[in-house]
Symmetry: C2
Subunit: 358 residues, 2 copies
């Protein structure tokens, strides 16, 4: 959290709607933000970034925009990704040039992804697995290292003698700080922290993660710890997700586990995330885990709940915790009422209902 959050009377919020359903869900997130009775004002600046901009102008993230974003207090992002047809966006262009660029430039080392099975939400898991159980955990995914650094290369591309490498880079500096953040979150929750890695195969990086996990753990005697290989962790997510409280893991394992976690707790329509720099040196960025879903864009079909919950994470990060709790309460009630509703509501109807209730 920022220093002295209570003293701030206004925040600059940068908003990147993006492509597809991105702008639609972000509009609902902002609607809820405006409807809250907040002790501070948010002044909003919108940025036109994503596949559409690249197709139109050839620009992904101009330096001038990066500088402006750096001056914001926080960023809210919808989703980026092109619709089929049109000028094809090369694989990785927006991911590396925009999403990951922001995570790396703003040192978002805590990629925070809560997973909660709200009462009444349909889950692909059988009743016996989740019924009457409290499935409520967060994954603290490292956001600035590992295989996401882009290191590696290709030799003799396109020939039968081609070699391609990917280098996972892990530092004590990077691992220690995210592990510490996870211990702190576990201490404030149910006091249980699980390290997920694959140290029996990835012995170099695995050793570093284990050592950091143990060393930092000495300062957190009140937190119970355990360890799972990533393959075993997927089994538990499918067979006993209630066993988890806080999971800490590397960038790639976190990517995989959080999509699965979202799936078992009601789908990526509900999954919020924060790309957080806890020091406040750079703005943190909040975004739904889902993508731009061009197939349903413009039809009012997208569920804005994940974005609205991302706004709650944003408020928490800025120290406006009461407002964050208020959003969560209202969302919980809204979700609980959904199975009884006559039919699906539109994107704006969901946003209107939650905005009216906060």
């Amino acid at each position: 959290p920022q220093d002295s959050p209570a003293e701030r009377s206004s925040y600059d919020l940068a908003v990147i709607g993006g492509d597809g359903i991105g702008p639609e869900v972000v509009a609902e997130g902002l609607k809820v933000l405006e409807a809250l009775d907040l002790p501070a004002k948010f002044s909003i600046t919108s940025y036109d970034l994503g596949a559409e901009r690249w197709q139109r102008t050839g620009e992904v993230l101009p330096d001038s925009v990066l500088s402006e974003l750096a001056a914001a207090d926080a960023i809210l992002l919808g989703a980026v990704g092109a619709a089929p047809g049109g000028k094809t966006v090369p694989s990785g262009l927006l991911e590396r040039g925009l999403l990951l660029k922001l995570r790396f430039a703003f040192d978002h080392y805590v990629n925070l992804r809560p997973s909660k099975l709200y009462p009444g939400v349909p889950t692909p898991l059988a009743d016996g697995v989740v019924k009457d159980k409290d499935v409520d955990f967060v994954v603290v995914r490292e956001g600035t290292e590992g295989l996401y650094v882009g290191n590696g290369g290709v030799v003799r591309a396109g020939t039968p003698a081609e070699i391609a490498t990917e280098v996972s880079i892990n530092t004590a500096y990077g691992v220690e700080r995210v592990v510490r953040d996870a211990y702190e979150r576990a201490r404030k929750r149910r006091g249980k922290l699980t390290l997920v890695h694959k140290h029996n195969v990835l012995v170099h990086a695995g050793g570093l993660w284990r050592r950091c996990f143990e060393t930092v753990g000495e300062e957190f005697g009140d937190v119970t710890t355990d360890y799972l290989h990533v393959d075993a962790a997927t089994i538990f997510l499918a067979t006993d997700p209630a066993r988890f409280d806080v999971i800490v893991t590397d960038n790639l394992f976190g990517d995989i586990l959080t999509d699965l976690a979202a799936a078992v707790t009601g789908g990526i329509g509900l999954a919020a995330s924060g790309n957080i720099n806890p020091s406040g040196a750079y703005p943190s960025m909040f975004e739904p885990v889902h993508g731009s879903a061009p197939d349903i864009a413009g039809q009012g079909k997208a569920d804005p709940t994940a974005t609205i919950l991302s706004v709650a994470l944003l408020l928490d990060h800025l120290g406006l915790n009461d407002a964050a709790r208020r959003i969560e309460q209202v969302v919980t009630a809204d979700i609980a009422a959904r199975p009884g509703l006559a039919g699906p509501r539109s994107t704006t109807q969901v946003g209107d209902a939650i905005a009216a209730a906060v």
Copy 2:
């Protein structure tokens, strides 16, 4: 498959029971093998390898044993891994020194892992997800490259300035051959092949995998293809596993996906696997996906079905396909009868029942 399998009148089978429940489940696998009416004889040589041997002798896999194994026609492995207490086995020692050593030394580039939801088997997935659906797919996991090569290292270990790297190595040689194998398997099944990778982030290796997938695909016009990012693939395994026929993926993604696949199709008690060198230049190795489960070792509680199904994969590899189908039929019937049985059967009772029926 080997050359001219039908002409062989006998096979040398190397058996590594291993630790914990390994020897128990392997005994049942061999019982079923012996009970079959086979056109060829199997002569069996047992090898004492695993945590227990290392604790006793300090040896993991002596060169002389590796040479003997190399001369076998196939290998059946139970599981390796130490019981808690006793002399602690360093993380990775048995994995790198024995399991992966064999996969690499014998060039097991096809790590074959079928997943089938047998009627009557409890699954953690809700009825709506799997009921009346045909969940029956195989993962063709690359077995000799990627992050499993062990490349990488550690600088300044144990200090605050530590750096640890892991290098994923991918070659056209290695990717092309496993992709081709997967296309061939898809052609013999329902004609659908899914590539799983993460090419929007792992652009170097991802590019190589994509190119190989497309190029080889030109020879398989009858196979329908699609692509999923690994994170999205976990969502589909939890929400719509029936969509898959054959999945081809790299070593690490395959490790993760197959544990999840096993979980959603009844658990690792049923998951068989083959570490296959399709050329026959080296012996292929068959093993249940589960581990040594020291907590239930010696109590007759382990389910030998995964090992018995691994024997079926072994027979298929040797060209004894009728016998393999016979095992599968009997296992299917046995599994279907399980929910009606009074109580759980012991390891030997399951093996006896299946052996009697084949």
